[in-house]
Amino acid sequence: MTPLLEVDQLKVEFSTKDGIVHAVDGVSLHIEQGKTLGLVGESGSGKSVTGLTVMGLTRGRGADIVGEARFDGRDLVSMGSDELRTLRGNDVAMIFQDPLSSLHPYYKIGRQLAEAYRTHHPKASRAEARDRSAEMLDLVGISDARARLDAYPHEFSGGMRQRTMIAMALINEPRLLIADEPTTALDVTVQAQILELISRLQDELGMAVIMITHDLGVVAELADDVAVMYAGRIVEYGPTETIFAAPQHPYTWGLLGSIPRLTTPRDEPLLPIPGRPPSLINRPSGCHFHPRCPYVQPSHREIDPMLEPIPGEPGKVACLLTVEERRALWARLRDGATPDEARAAVLGQVAPA
């Protein structure tokens, strides 16, 4: 099956007065019709920029974009702006992190929805666009939809605004939805509702979804595949079950270790990943994760790892540890060892090298 979207060696750089920001650095990923890809990472890992670039929303703004993003065989990166506009909001749609600021404060909900519809259905009458808007609001679970068309965004709650954003994104039945942290700004209870909604609509409309999130819990529930991003690159990529059952990258271990779980005893501390995401202007030498990696070896500061297939597993990983070392480390971490204990047991080192 040919992928619906195939991103190939995508690089996005921004020139700023402090230097060049390497926001996305050689990202390759693919997604098939009807599937969900989870794009996971911390703030500044390049996951949002990847999504925005696929939408063509990083164009201009001093961005230097190389690589390809083939949607249905057509390259979105090299495509002309006019052609891209006919796809944007039509075949490919996006919803954003902050529904509070993503709707125009001065226009009524109905008008904003109808505009999205009529842009890609120029022959549709006002009445048709309004009917369609009401239908969409109803579909995303807003009660009394027709009356709500005349409301302004500030009269809606955060959850309702995100539902409206989803309605607006799906009004033209896109084949690909890019959801950029759609639940981050919402209450936990509303988060679950919105995710359920996206999942239900995905089944109904048969669209593919790229779920951009820092929340592995979201990914575990929704995604078929997961790409873990760090410092503008994919460091681990594979089917969701594999990533959760046998993660290979120390960064993925860190992400998994820092999730609070209902089953974890309350007095057991969470294990945050030490340090901060690196500067994307002056990136660390060698493996970009080495300054934060508990298992770092001297050579890791020199050699830049490639994303390579894992022997005997369906996924790919960019890590300089051997596959045996990684398996042994993960086995100990899974059994409750701390990174220090795991390192001492597997690599025989008391402190990071």
């Binding site: 939408m55 929303l57 702006s81 506009r85 006919t86 796809l87 944007r88 909001g89 039509n90 749609a93 996006m94 954003f96 902050d98 600021s101 993503s102 709707l103 125009h104 404060p105 001065y106 226009y107 505009e115 999205a116 842009t119 890609h120 302004y152 500030h154 954003m165 607006m168 994104a169």
Partner: protein, 320 residues
Amino acid sequence: MGRYIIRRLLWVVFLLLVVSAVTFVIFYTLPSGDPAALRAGKSPDPSVIADIRHSLGLDRPVYVQYWLYLKQIVLHFDFGFSYQNSQPVRQQIFERLPATASLAIGAVVVWMLVALPIGVVSAVRSRSIVDRLSMGGALIAISAPVYWLALVALYLFSSDIGVIHIFKGAGSYVPFSDSPSQWFSSLLLPWLVLAASFAAFYARLLRSNLLETLSEDYIRTARAKGLSERTVIWRHAMRSAVTPIVTILGLDIGILLGGTILTETVFNIPGIGRLGYEAIINSDLSVIQGTVLFGAFFIVVANLLVDIAYAFLDPRVTYS
């Protein structure tokens, strides 16, 4: 909304009372001359001055004079008469209002026609050569005082004293009712001069507002919908960017309708500003009072209208 407007109107009345009282007090503590002496002619007899003072009511206590003044305004809409030429102040102001309004409204049209495209282009092509040149030019236009600019413009371009004879010079004002074409040609240079600094200010304001708006999340949403860049800028970004400009525009129009003293004086346009200027020179209190009150009236009313307009421009604003 209704209650809000009534409350604001009461506030307008109160403000005008304060303004008139302050003008009275200033005139009596720091008089620019003795109106009675000025009216009495050259080397008059002291008894003549005393007579005039009595007939003008200037020998009464200040608070009595103020009270009588207010009573006349409230009961008869009568602002007194000029000490200088005995004409009623109300009549003088209304006679001169068309000239001031012509100057003000024309200048507003000119500066908006200039500022809107420059502001939009500078924001959309920010940091480009066009942007840098227009913002540099704007800085010069803002820094140039209007009386200086007016004189330079007259010396360079007026048909009487100018180097190149393009525009009509000072003192050429013709009312619109007499001849629309002459009215237009006589006001062209004053409009350009008065509009220069405003155009620069508005272009800069629009540019910064638009730049800020263009980085908003809802603009990204508009682009994500697949709207054309023109629609994104004109329908989505401009809608938010011009709202604060409408506010300031309302206030500026109010201020200008109260008289553009410098421009009217340099170009010798018989407007309210020039009337006020002459009244100050001649210590003509009732005319000073009248022009100040009129100016204040336009400003507070413009303020009120702008606040009311805001409720229509921004759906998030409600008054209760």
